[in-house]
């Protein structure tokens, strides 16, 4: 039965005049979806990547063959700084939410009173739309009236207002903090679900055997959630690697390109600079890196029993 799914017995099929085999019927079911995917994902992806070999302006029709010129330009100019920005953002906005989310998941899993309510409360930053997150933090980081400057001055950490989004180093920090705020709840939910599968008796048995909290964490807890943690980190890494909304709204890639990641750079090249060849060459390299990550991801999550 496992190989044929819900195949009605062949005789029954004939009796009801079913002309299609199960395989053909199954493919028929996927047809509308496949057509849609081909039209809106597969074709655009291939067409975008091939555009990288042409000189083309968004505003005008027509294009000329450019060979590898765009790729050479991209590699000589913006690929490396953009890669560096993307990596700094991606690593920061994955590692920090993971630590926060994990700490929270451990706390909520330790039998705290009202942990269900707290879990719901902590979800808010993740639930609200990405642009709202951006607006809110833009306001918090505001150089003239921002509450962050106000609070830090009040407790004496800074003496005069900092232009958080106006300085290259603090701007990157600011977008990472913003993304962290929006991401940690998701990691919390995933890790909490993972923690809940670790049997409580195991902890108790380890405690009876005299294992301390740290020892129990590494001997019981961590092996139990390692797989979930790996998938969670990998997914968040992939999403951050192509994250657009927060950075675009908060800084637009500035100041002076300090927060210009692949997503922002490709978008700006195409829709502000109108240089499609350049944008898609950069995008092609970006896609290549992403494909490696997606490959790792597919391999890691490959555990379908059937």
């Amino acid at each position: 039965m496992t190989t044929t799914g819900i195949a009605p017995p062949a005789k029954a099929r004939e009796r009801h005049g079913q002309k299609l085999s199960n395989g053909a019927f199954a493919l028929l079911l996927t047809l509308p979806g496949m057509a849609l995917f081909a039209a809106i994902v597969l074709y655009p992806l291939i067409a975008s990547i091939t555009t990288g070999f042409f000189k083309q302006d968004l505003r005008f029709p027509g294009r000329t063959w450019a060979g590898l010129q765009n790729y050479a330009d991209v590699l000589n100019r913006d690929f490396w700084p953009v890669l560096q920005n993307t990596l700094v953002f991606t690593v920061g906005a994955t590692a920090i939410p993971f630590v926060i989310g994990f700490a929270l998941a451990l706390a909520l899993n330790s039998g705290l009173k009202g942990s269900g309510f707290l879990r719901g409360l902590f979800l808010f930053p993740w639930v609200i739309p990405g642009v709202v997150v951006s607006f809110l933090w833009m306001w918090i980081f505001n150089a003239n009236y921002g509450v962050l400057n106000g609070a830090l001055m009040k407790i004496g950490i800074i003496e005069e207002s900092v232009s958080w989004l106006g300085e290259p180093t603090t701007a990157m920090l600011a977008v990472i903090i913003t993304k962290t705020w929006a991401s940690f709840p998701w990691m919390m939910v995933m890790l909490l679900a993972g923690l809940q599968t670790v049997p409580r008796e195991l902890h108790e048995a380890a405690a009876v055997d005299g294992a301390g909290a740290v020892r129990r964490f590494f001997a019981v807890t961590w092996p139990g959630v390692r797989a979930v943690a790996a998938i969670t980190i990998l997914l968040e890494f992939i999403w951050n690697f192509q994250h657009f909304d927060t950075i675009y709204v908060l800084t637009g890639g500035g100041p002076a390109g300090a927060t210009e990641t692949f997503a922002v750079a490709v978008y700006q090249d195409a829709f502000k600079g109108y240089d499609l060849g350049h944008a898609t060459a950069l995008g092609g390299l970006w896609m290549l890196l992403l494909l490696v990550l997606v490959g790792v991801y597919l391999k890691t999550s490959e555990r379908e029993p059937k």
């Binding site: 195949a7 039209a39 706390a107 709202v132 009236y145 106000g150 049997p199 998938i231």
Partner: protein
């Protein structure tokens, strides 16, 4: 899909041979210590999570002169609903909201209908190419949107669809489809094969089985998938920013165009508008609590 997290084998390392009775477990002080640590973690992270939300609420109900005050008033004394009234009276914003509703609802309907057939096929049949197809659908939600957008823009322009609802719905489907297909596959996986076999033996065609037996059973899951798709469509920024025109603009890019980049952003009004945009998704998530892990991962971990 919610069962996915139950597959981890417990750690064998934890069980150690220990002569019985050599040591009494000291659990009390240990438990107290760990619950103190838990509360400290919750309190610190709670401040980080909730203070910004507090500031969102405070600014949204602050009159202008209170919001533009430095140092800021951490505990506000003046309250107003003026900012919400301004939102309600702004015709452009109202139009954006109508567009957001139309596009998100239609995207969600399209995705659920198409994904139901695809997810059912993935769940209940075994055939060549199934795995590759499933992997493609899964991977497609990780393809960079900015890159897809460049060709989508060109194609929609060629067909005269730039600025149309159709362009928005089709582009939103690039991310709602993978979500729905995988979520619905997970839901159909929970429908026992025996039920379908029984239906076949009773003479129901495969088509009929899907529509009159499986679909009603899976209805709550289909609604959840639709709600997730609605939320994702409602939240979209990059596609609507680029493919919509002023008549089809949705709220997220509409708010950016209205408020950001002015000489002096009207922060109280923007915070009020932000609350309004957030409301539908917050409500949606109240219904989605149960599907959270499944929906969040939608194929993140294949189960």
């Amino acid at each position: 899909m919610t069962t996915l997290l139950a597959q981890e084998a417990p750690a064998p390392a934890a069980r150690r041979a220990h002569p019985a009775g050599t040591r009494r477990p000291r659990r009390r002080p240990d438990q107290i210590r760990s619950s103190v640590a838990a509360w400290i973690a919750v309190a610190v992270i709670g401040l980080f999570a909730l203070l910004p939300l507090y500031w969102l609420l405070v600014t949204a109900v602050s009159p202008k002169d209170q919001a533009f005050q430095f140092p800021p008033k951490f505990i506000p004394t003046d309250f107003t609903l003026e900012n919400f009234r301004a939102f309600a009276e702004n015709e452009a914003l109202f139009d954006y909201m109508v567009n957001s509703v139309i596009v998100a609802v239609l995207t969600s309907l399209l995705s659920v209908v198409v994904a139901t057939y695809m997810g059912y096929s993935f769940s209940k049949f075994r055939y060549r190419g199934r795995k590759s197809l499933m992997n493609f659908v899964l991977a497609s939600q990780m393809f960079p949107q900015a890159l897809l957008l460049i060709t989508l823009y060109a194609v929609f322009r060629q067909f005269g669809l730039l600025g149309s609802y159709t362009a928005l719905i089709l582009s939103f489907a690039t991310f709602t489809m993978p979500l729905c297909v995988w979520m619905l596959k997970g839901i159909f996986d929970t429908v026992p094969d025996a039920l379908l076999e029984a239906a076949a033996i009773d003479g129901a065609s495969r088509w009929r089985t899907l529509h009159t037996i499986v679909a009603p059973l899976a209805a709550p899951g289909m609604i959840a998938a639709g709600l997730f798709a609605f939320v994702r469509g409602w939240n979209d920024f990059i596609f609507a920013l680029t493919l919509a025109d002023k008549d089809t603009m949705t709220l997220p890019p509409g708010l950016v165009n209205t408020y950001i980049g002015e000489f002096q952003t009207a922060w109280p009004a923007l915070m009020a508008a932000s609350l309004v945009v957030s409301l539908p998704v917050v409500i949606a998530f109240m219904f989605l609590q149960r599907y959270l892990v499944g929906g969040l991962t939608a194929g993140a971990v294949k189960s």
